[in-house]
Symmetry: C2
Subunit: 281 residues, 2 copies
């Protein structure tokens, strides 16, 4: 079992992923069924229990592992109570409790909170026709940018995000952390042929670009529904894809820097779109 | 000399910093005087010269170090020509050329381009009265967010950024990379007492907040000049500071996620401000 978890940690089990931390695990429970497995750090549970929850019934898993706590784990105190509450929300047979040292092998962060869920990666069927607000990401490389864009899309009410082949994996731990739970309220489609998808789009495709053909975002009456096409951090949207976009827009900026960060640019266009939808009807 | 560079690399020389890569070094030359010292990777120069620039006069520094190249450094080819051009822009006595292995000890990136500038950190005198558009950052932690906000401020035409005590250092290598040269066209003031500064502000202070007192960004007529006050990633603007702001605004979002990334939120408010300045006069 532990070996399988290590594999999942390394992203080597297709269709399964480890999500980490109280916030993401709670988001998972809100939006999906129970996890395949919940993994807890014995040291964190031990500390939280001794401080706050004495008298609460003990999971048997917890009893088995609690002897193996280490000093270092006690630094994780701040979120320990929340981890303990999460532990008590779940059935015993869903949980395993592992010693601090083994737990740390399963996390990607320096200061882990003490809880991981092993879950099936939600998979979404691509609709036959795209007619709802969506984001298309062309070869985006940086996990922080990808996560930020997922977060901004959810915040702006755009529920569908399509990632091209060559994009960073949407379910990698860094993207998950950066998106702060947005994954669980979005439909995320990976490894997509964006060019083929544009042919199946019944709404305008708006590409962000710094080309001569682009018009100012603020002088564009944005359609109620559209696809936002955003590109690679250095190269932007691939020219072949760009030529298939219905419109090209740019964000009017000074020439003090070459461009905006793509995650920021996405936030600006998605929220200008939201502003126009909410306030310019 | 090399020991001093190592110290600068570790951020241990007050008032000096190493900036890295062709783009940042060019930005420095555009906005400032020459660097204190330019450090080049011998392997990169060797490769660029043999491929492109045969016949060009050789710096003596380059001759001394070129024997020490290593195979691994040849992977840096893509930006080698630009590094070579930069090398030829500078006077010999400004440059040192070091073997690949030593160069790598001075960089923070996995694939260094082959050029570093040692420069004096520009210091700006805080004006007696603040009456121009500015950004105040309260205890911002993440270097990526800080860099992104500097980049967005420059792109939006906001020239002054004040960082509180407890903020990430604006001149750390990660912030420099993330800001993509914005540092060199901004006035950056670090270790500031923002509360004291608000007393010396003759323009409205707009804080982003999710409090009951906040009003919708899109229903707010933004003043021509104002200070944007943005806060800590998890905690937002400190309550004591927030109470001193003239206005509190929020970005109208769905409840699918708790909040926006602070770098994205800054981009959205700075560009909504720019939109109103440019298009709502």
């Amino acid at each position: 079992m532990y070996k399988q978890l290590l594999k999942a940690h390394l992203g080597k089990i297709k269709g399964q992923v480890l999500i980490e931390g109280v916030h993401l695990c709670h988001s998972w429970l809100e939006h999906h069924a129970d996890p395949l497995l919940a993994i807890f750090n014995a040291a964190v549970l031990e500390h939280a229990k001794s401080g706050v929850c004495s008298g609460t019934a003990e999971h048997s898993e917890y009893k088995q592992a609690k002897e193996k706590t280490t000093e270092s784990a006690l630094a994780m105190q701040s979120s320990g109570d929340e981890v303990w509450q999460l532990f008590n929300l779940l059935d015993t047979d869903q949980c395993i409790v592992v010693p601090d040292k083994l737990f740390r092998n399963l996390t990607h962060v320096d200061s882990p909170q003490g809880v991981l869920f092993l879950v099936n990666t939600p998979s979404c069927k691509v609709p036959a026709m795209i007619h709802e607000n969506a984001v298309f990401l062309d070869r985006l490389q940086d996990p922080g940018n990808a996560g930020t864009i997922l977060r901004s899309a959810a915040a702006a009410g755009v529920r569908h995000v399509y990632l091209s082949k060559g994009c960073v994996s949407a379910w990698s731990s860094k993207v998950l952390r950066s998106a702060q739970g947005a994954h669980f309220s979005l439909n995320i489609y990976e490894q997509q042929d964006l060019s083929g998808l544009i042919n199946r789009t019944s709404i305008p495709v708006m590409a962000t670009a710094l080309s001569d053909k682009a018009q100012s975002l603020y002088e564009t009456r944005l359609p109620e529904q559209c696809v936002w096409l955003m590109g690679h951090e250095g190269q932007g949207v691939h020219p072949a894809l760009l030529s298939k976009a219905t419109h090209q827009v740019f964000i009017p900026q000074t020439d003090l820097v070459e461009s905006l960060n793509v995650g920021v640019a996405a936030g600006i266009v998605l929220f200008e779109h939201r502003r126009q939808r909410l306030y310019c009807v």
